[in-house]
Symmetry: C2
Subunit: 213 residues, 2 copies
């Protein structure tokens, strides 16, 4: 399809599409003449993802470009490609190395991962931003005087593992690895706020069931 049709089908203005092309957020179309290029389904898909990253994830153009470079890097294995794309997304706080609670938090997280038997998470350790945010959040709990209950975290982590199974099952329904990785990134950006809303709704529902309205 031509640029005008890509704009119509995606609902994104041609000016914005040209901007994304210039910023290399969207790959160039196939040139059919000196002044015209052809776009296809993969461009439509990519446009959706770019809008999700910029508008919902509020990523900067530079960060979005970094995420998409990992999504497109076919030289990586699927786990790494997925991981690299997700790692480049914005994530929580970093551990404060000057805070005395950080060492305790680190030991708690190590025990949690050992209890869970999550060997990859243990191996990668704080290379993973999610791991670092977890350490930082646990350190905050301790600093504020809330007990960090590793058993409670273990329970929650097991539930999150079941969510991950559902997520990867849904992802695997996409035909190509490129689409699978795109879907995983979109889901991280779009579904995380949605899960928070569902969790609060579930809490209210459970409370009403227990204590009445």
């Amino acid at each position: 399809m031509r640029l005008s049709e890509l704009s119509e089908q995606s609902g994104v203005s041609t000016a914005t599409i040209k901007y994304y092309l210039r910023e290399r957020l969207l790959p160039a179309g196939r040139h059919v003449s000196a002044t015209q290029a052809e776009y296809d389904e993969s461009h439509l898909r990519r446009l959706r993802l770019v809008r999700a990253l910029l508008q919902v994830g509020r990523l900067t153009v530079a960060t979005a470009r970094e995420v998409l470079a990992h999504v497109d890097d076919e030289s990586l294995g699927r786990t790494i490609r997925l991981g690299a794309a997700l790692w480049a997304l914005p994530h929580g706080p970093e551990p404060d190395e000057d805070a005395p609670e950080t060492a305790t938090a680190r030991a708690d997280v190590a025990r949690l991962l050992a209890d869970l038997g999550w060997t990859t998470a243990r191996e990668l350790g704080e290379l993973s931003p999610a791991h670092r945010s977890l350490v930082a959040s646990v350190a905050t709990l301790i600093r504020l005087g809330y007990p960090c209950d590793v058993d409670y975290l273990t329970q929650q982590a097991r539930v999150m593992r079941r969510v991950a199974v559902q997520d990867l099952d849904a992802m695997e329904e996409f035909p190509s690895e490129a689409e699978q990785v795109e879907a995983a990134v979109a889901s991280a950006v779009l579904y995380e706020p949605l899960l928070t809303s569902l969790r609060r709704l579930a809490q209210a529902e459970e409370a009403a069931q227990r204590y009445g309205l």
Copy 2:
């Protein structure tokens, strides 16, 4: 205990404690003389919560005061007291009434809640900020061209309900209703970022298990 001891035990400076007292984030101590007041465990607990709301939740002083007023309102039933405190916390986006996708999103969320049999959530409807954010997030999915799979949301919601059961079980271990409500608010502020980290770690672990590292 005296103010100086409250400061020592909480790690919060006396100047900051005085500021919280002036802003009515912390209830006044029991006056033992014209110039001295006595503080107790409830003040220590409240100080922890105030710091969680301001430093981690990044609430404004006015919002924190509103949340705490609901926490302290013994005239409310437990579900409402809990709900009111959580509803005052910052939440996700509001539905855009001018967007054509909002009506579709509303119908999707209605079907989701009917499938789940969550009668309170259906009754309260968009009085609940979590409900409104859910509608807004689903509308965004639709607008960006991502299909909103109600079956997938139903699965995720069931998992979140199990999380809510664990949360309320943990909450009920606190001896008084006041402490229970405080714990629920602290948990919403402190554990939501932690759950996001756990979810991403779980995804990486599950991916490594399926596709190797």
